[in-house]
């Protein structure tokens, strides 16, 4: 070894020195002691132009590497043809990055970074779980799918419909305005997209095609239905995100309408029908229009016709009234001491198994006596 060092030391120095002069202008090769002229302040504007094509070659490169087809260190042609210069990612520099990457891992793992929303969290708070629970138990309220599927002339996944029904059930009894309830129910399908959903709702308000009357008509009026069908996408999955939001809003409105029984001086009777797997269920609430309007409020009569055994329960702040039938038939309840403007919950249980309840909101509005 010593024999070689002395006479050839100069060769070594000369060679090493000349090789370690960085070859000119490769934008990936920095020259830390010179002003980097690759810096371009214009590249910082929001509209900085992206080099789309260069991106593609990077992607192909990564795929090649993953398959083990990388160009060998001796600079052979890479497996994919590159018609234009993507230039600067030499195998040597890639190896350099890999050396650094392997080295830095130790420090990184000893001191894991936090992402912007995680500031201040301890290390054991950094575990994320799978959000595997669907937001609604898929078995619940399946009996009412026929009704849900009939609301719009398009194909919508059962999961989505049931989720909306569950969400509407949650909000139907609240005292918020109808519009807010509808928005809240629809939002459960799109967590994280609240702002965009609000915009969609505003646009629906202004849209004649999706006017909610139109939609309601479509369930009964065949012509209206087919007009609506032309406007809607064929399936929910093929719709864009915005379209899905709009559809969800419209569905939520329809469902809430079907779960809300609003008695007013002009509408002394309200009626709704829900199609179930066992047949049609109909519900009617009335205030007798012929009784004289005295000091005491008139009783509200509630009547339900069930296709099979079930139970009807009315919940008031003071008590609950209940009635049941052992098979298909009618059920009736009466509410005498009701308060104007108060929301009452009317629960329909089906088949005793508690999985197919429908929850209605019953409100009897104020009216002024002349």
């Amino acid at each position: 070894m010593n024999n070689m060092n002395d006479p050839l030391a100069w060769l070594y120095q000369e060679l090493l020195q000349s090789l370690t002069q960085p070859p000119p202008v490769s934008t990936q090769q920095p020259r830390p002691n010179l002003p980097p002229e690759a810096f371009n302040p214009e590249a910082f504007s929001e509209e900085a132009e992206l080099d789309w094509d260069a991106l593609l070659w990077d992607v192909l490169d990564e795929q090649d590497e993953a398959r083990g087809e990388t160009a060998p260190m001796i600079g052979g042609e890479s497996a994919t043809p590159q018609p234009f210069a993507k230039g600067d990612r030499s195998a040597v520099y890639k190896r350099f990055e890999q050396i650094i990457r392997n080295r830095i891992r130790d420090e990184v793992h000893a001191n894991l970074p936090r992402f912007p929303w995680e500031h201040g969290l301890a290390i054991d708070e950094l575990d994320y779980v799978d959000d595997f629970a669907p937001r609604v138990n898929p078995l619940w309220q399946q009996a009412w799918l026929p009704q849900l599927q009939s609301l719009l002339p398009m194909q919508i996944p059962e999961q989505t419909l049931l989720q909306l029904l569950a969400a509407c059930t949650q909000v139907v009894g609240s005292v918020q305005p109808h519009g807010i309830k509808m928005a809240d129910a629809a939002k459960t399908l799109f967590p994280g997209y609240g702002t965009q959903l609000n915009e969609v709702i505003n646009r629906i308000r202004l849209s004649p095609t999706l006017a909610l009357d139109t939609v309601r008509d479509a369930t009964t009026n065949a012509a209206a239905r087919s007009r609506l069908a032309q406007v809607l996408p064929a399936t929910y999955q093929s719709a864009s995100l915005e379209q899905q939001m709009a559809i969800a809003v419209v569905l939520a409105k329809s469902i809430l309408d079907g779960l809300t029984l609003n008695l007013t001086p002009r509408h002394l009777s309200q009626h709704c029908v829900w199609q179930s797997t066992a047949g049609e269920m109909s519900l009617q609430v009335t205030i007798d229009p012929h009784s004289p309007w005295g000091q005491r409020p008139h009783p509200i009569r509630i009547q339900a016709t069930l296709p099979q055994a079930g139970q009807l329960t009315l919940t008031t702040p003071k008590r609950s009234l209940s009635t049941q039938c052992a098979g298909a038939g009618s059920l009736a309840l009466q509410l005498a001491d009701w308060q104007p403007g108060q929301t009452y919950l009317l629960t329909l249980e089906f088949q005793e198994d508690n999985k197919n309840n429908l929850q209605f909101a019953l409100i009897c509005q104020h009216w002024d006596k002349d």
Partner: protein, 370 residues
Amino acid sequence: MDRLIEELAAQLQQETNTNPQICHQVAKRLMEEVQRICQESPHIQTSGEIDAWGRTLMEHRRKQCLRYYQLGSRQGRGELQSLLSAIVYQYLKPPGQPSSYQQRLLLIEDFLQGFYLEALNAFRRETQLDGGYQPRSRLELAEYMAFCERYAKRRIRLPQQRSQQLIILRAQAFTRRTPLEWITDLEAATEPTDTNPDRPDPVIRQIRAALRQAETPAAEHSLHDTIVKTLIQYLQQQGRQDCVDYFILRLQDLPTAEIEAILKLTPRQRDYLQQRFKYHLIRFALSHQWELVHDWLEADLEHNLGLTAGEWQRFKQRLEPGQQQLLTLKQRGQSWAAIAKTLTWTPTKTRKQWFRLLEIAWEIRNRSVS
């Protein structure tokens, strides 16, 4: 496009234990990004293979996302941080001082925190998520991490048909916030920082680099690259990956102390490695690829092995008769096999004599310099 979204959503659901709703939204976001690329990329648009590219890009994103998912929150972010750190390593250096591994780490950590926030905002903006959106499930976290990687690697157009990765431009800007006094840099660099004789005078190196940049023709780059790559291949063949890594770090112009920190070597270990490297480099230069190297050093036979006329005479006088013949035959361009036959030597002896001959030439050259 919709088919692809469905397909991707189904794949994500299969591979992760995540609620189908979330899988669908993640798939949508990923494919919308793919769609944007397909629309904006001139190459894809003119290729007429939009579907094929769509699929390729989708596959790339699927794998990327699932990879981060499988690594999990802690290891995933560790890998992301290591990867990004390696990309920006050379671009983040404390100004006015020789670089140190530990100092760079601090700068990198600082820089990446800002980068993660920028990426999060870009993600929210591009996917039209709420300003308050944050990943909650493991899959959504993987989606964010994969986005960070892609965002970092986006290529921004620079003048003269070059492009640079976005994260590198950000790193350069970050450094610039603490203004780089490059004059101070130069002064600091010219002070002897270590007594390693293998580190040539920095001022001269920089002047040489500047000159090189101005005048080096393209052919010389490729010769330089060829030598670098051939040397690396040679070292690998000798089973000296450690020498390869050492060489690659030297090529990046890193000071000795930093190389020690990166390779986790004590000074003594580094010295030993350096000796091994020197040994192999000499063998490479004089035996394995002597023509290539000598050509590079402009010390090939046409240039009298880099010797002046006087030196050349002295050189020939030192040669034994056999070696003189060898020299003559080499100058005539004869093959090793032919020369061996003529001189009635074994091929091994022929090569060894040639090695010795070159050694003598370098010895003379060395002596005339020192």
